[in-house]
Subunit: 141 residues, 2 copies
DNA sequence: GTCGCTGCAAAGTATTTGCATAGCC
DNA sequence: GGCTATGCAAATACTTTGCAGCGAC
C-alpha cells in the first residue's frame, strides 16, 4: 500500500476546503515519524524543532481535523491521554488497561456484520475495529 | 442467560476478598436499572434516593472495582465521560464520535484471531470486542 | 478490634474555548 | 483583503488522591 506523503495531505486538505499550513504538514509527518501510537504531547515535542512556537491546542485541533478527514484515528484508551494512529490500512488494536499503551494487531477479522448492524440501527458508521484489552507485556510482568 | 443479582454480587465480592457494602450493592443495581450505558454521574443520580450521602469518588472507585472483577466493562468513548456496561453476555458496541453515546450491537463476530495475536505478542488479553464508530441517529440527523 | 471503604475537599490531568494576530487563498 | 488557523491564557471537564471517620468481618 502507498504511504501518505506531503502531497497526499495537500490534496486531502484542498479537497475538503481546508488550508494547507506548515503546522498541518509537519504534524502529520511527526506522527508518522514517531512510528507508534503517540499522544498529543509526544507529537508536540516531536515537532518542536521544526515549529518552535507550536502549541498544544493547535496539536489537538489539527489531530481532530485529521481524524474527521480520516487521515488518522483517535484512540481513547481510558488510561491516560488519547493516542493517534496514522491510518494506512485496516488493522486492529491491543490496548493496555493499566498504562494505556496501544499496539497494532496485524490480523484480519471480518467486522462487517457489526457495521451492518449499526447501519440497521439508524446510525452512520464510519469504521469498525476489533479492540483487545488486557495487560501489556510490561504491566503484566 | 442468567442475570446478575444481589446474591451473585455478594459471592463475587467475597470470592475476591472484598467487602460487601451497601454502596456496592446499590450501585450495581442502579447501573443495571438504568438500562443503558450510563456515566458515573448518571449512576450517582440514579442511586441518590437510596444513598443520599453517596459521592462521585465512591462511584468511580466502585465502578473501577467492578471493572477489575469483570462485573462491568468501562467504555472510553473519546467524547465526554466514560460509560459503564453491565456485562451479561458477549456483545459489541457502536459509539458516536460526536456525543459519545454507546449502544449495543447484538451481532456475533469471531474476534479470537485478535486475541491470539495479542497473546502471541506477549500481552495478557482479557477481552476482545468490535467497536463501530460513526455518528448516531441523533447527531447524523 | 482491625482494616478497608466511604465521604469530603482538593488536586491533577486532559482537553477545549475565547480572543487577538498571523498567514493562506 | 477576507477569513481561517494559530498561539496564548484561561477555563472546563473528568478523574484521582489524601485524609479522617465509619462500618464490615
Amino acid at each position: 500500500m502507498r504511504t501518505m506523503d506531503v502531497e497526499d495531505l495537500r490534496e486531502a486538505l484542498r479537497a475538503h476546503g481546508q488550508r494547507v499550513t506548515n503546522q498541518r504538514l509537519v504534524l502529520l509527518a511527526a506522527l508518522r515519524g514517531l512510528g507508534h501510537h503517540a499522544t498529543a504531547e509526544e507529537i508536540l515535542h516531536a515537532a518542536e524543532d521544526r515549529l518552535p512556537a507550536l502549541s498544544l491546542p493547535t496539536v489537538y485541533a489539527t489531530l481532530d481535523l485529521f481524524d474527521r478527514l480520516g487521515l488518522v484515528r483517535k484512540i481513547a484508551t481510558g488510561a491516560g491521554p488519547a493516542r493517534y494512529d496514522p491510518v494506512l490500512d485496516q488493522h486492529h488494536h491491543f490496548t493496555c488497561r493499566r498504562c494505556g499503551a496501544v499496539e497494532d494487531l496485524p490480523v484480519s477479522v471480518d467486522a462487517s456484520p457489526a457495521l451492518r448492524a449499526a447501519a440497521a440501527g439508524g446510525h452512520v458508521p464510519a469504521s469498525a475495529e476489533v479492540v483487545v484489552s488486557g495487560l501489556c507485556r510490561r504491566c503484566a510482568g
